[in-house]
């Protein structure tokens, strides 16, 4: 087909790497990560529906260091995708595209997602009495 002969736009590696580019690809990466992470949600609900034994097995899995690592990563991916998703919705109204504003909102999203993740885990550990 003739479309294959058309020039391509410059490849990604030609551009100087920028914060906003990293945020953009992270939105996709966290989206895919969250999609995989829904298995944790479905697993939790199915375990609950199945009965106490399956629920105990699920609790054991999620309490294991690997389970906690998955859940921690998922928490950050959730807050990142949420914050950056709101940033995207603001862009959809045509606002916030100025270079300095887009960079600043990016920093807010990056720092905000980490802060929210830490707060969520501190609250959760507080409730279980691991931190008092």
């Amino acid at each position: 087909m003739s479309t294959n002969e058309r020039p391509l736009s410059p490849h990604l590696q030609i551009y100087r790497w920028q914060w906003t580019m990293a945020l953009s690809i992270l939105h996709r990466a966290t989206g895919v990560g969250l999609a995989v992470g829904t298995l944790l949600l479905v697993g939790w609900l199915m375990a609950l529906a199945d009965g106490p034994d399956r629920y105990a097995a699920y609790q054991e899995f999620i309490g294991h260091w690997f389970g906690r690592l998955l859940l921690f990563g998922w928490t950050w991916a959730f807050f990142y995708h949420l914050c950056n998703g709101i940033r995207h919705l603001v862009w959809d109204t045509g606002r916030g595209f100025e270079l300095n504003v887009a960079a600043a909102s990016g920093y807010v999203v990056g720092i905000g997602s980490v802060v929210l993740t830490v707060i969520a885990w501190l609250c959760a550990y507080n409730l279980t009495g691991a931190i008092s």
Partner: protein, 126 residues
């Protein structure tokens, strides 16, 4: 000369074949997921280390069951729309694209049904 309206002529054309429907549904589910996601995050924090009976009791509250069902519908709809775009952008082999697209759509739907069924079973006291 055609009696077709300009709108009738372009409907169904374009690379996505469906105009702005995909984009719009992604925004609707995104907006729904802001309050639903925050509600669920807070609920999960409160449920950390909860016993089996505590978790069941939480899910049997009608408001929690309803919000959870809404979260499930919005999440899996948003998820399959998003995965669709990722596949369309990066997979250029037609066969692989078709298999991945069918796989992710069917898996998203199956996960949504499984999650919804689990919620209903618990909520109705099964």
């Amino acid at each position: 000369m055609s009696l077709q309206t300009p709108l009738g002529r372009v409907r169904g054309l374009g690379s996505a074949r469906n105009g702005t429907h995909h984009w719009w549904m992604q925004r609707i589910t995104a907006v729904a997921l802001i309050p639903l996601g925050l509600w669920f995050a807070v609920a999960l924090i409160k449920l950390t280390g909860a016993s089996y009976s505590d978790a069941i009791a939480w899910l049997q509250s009608p408001i929690n069951a309803i919000l959870l069902l809404l979260l499930i519908v919005a999440t899996f709809h948003h998820m399959q729309l998003g995965l669709q775009v990722v596949i369309e952008d990066y997979v250029h082999h037609e066969g692989a694209k078709l298999v991945l697209m069918m796989g992710q759509k069917l898996a998203s739907f199956a996960l949504a049904v499984a999650a919804g069924f689990a919620v209903l079973k618990i909520a109705f006291g099964g």
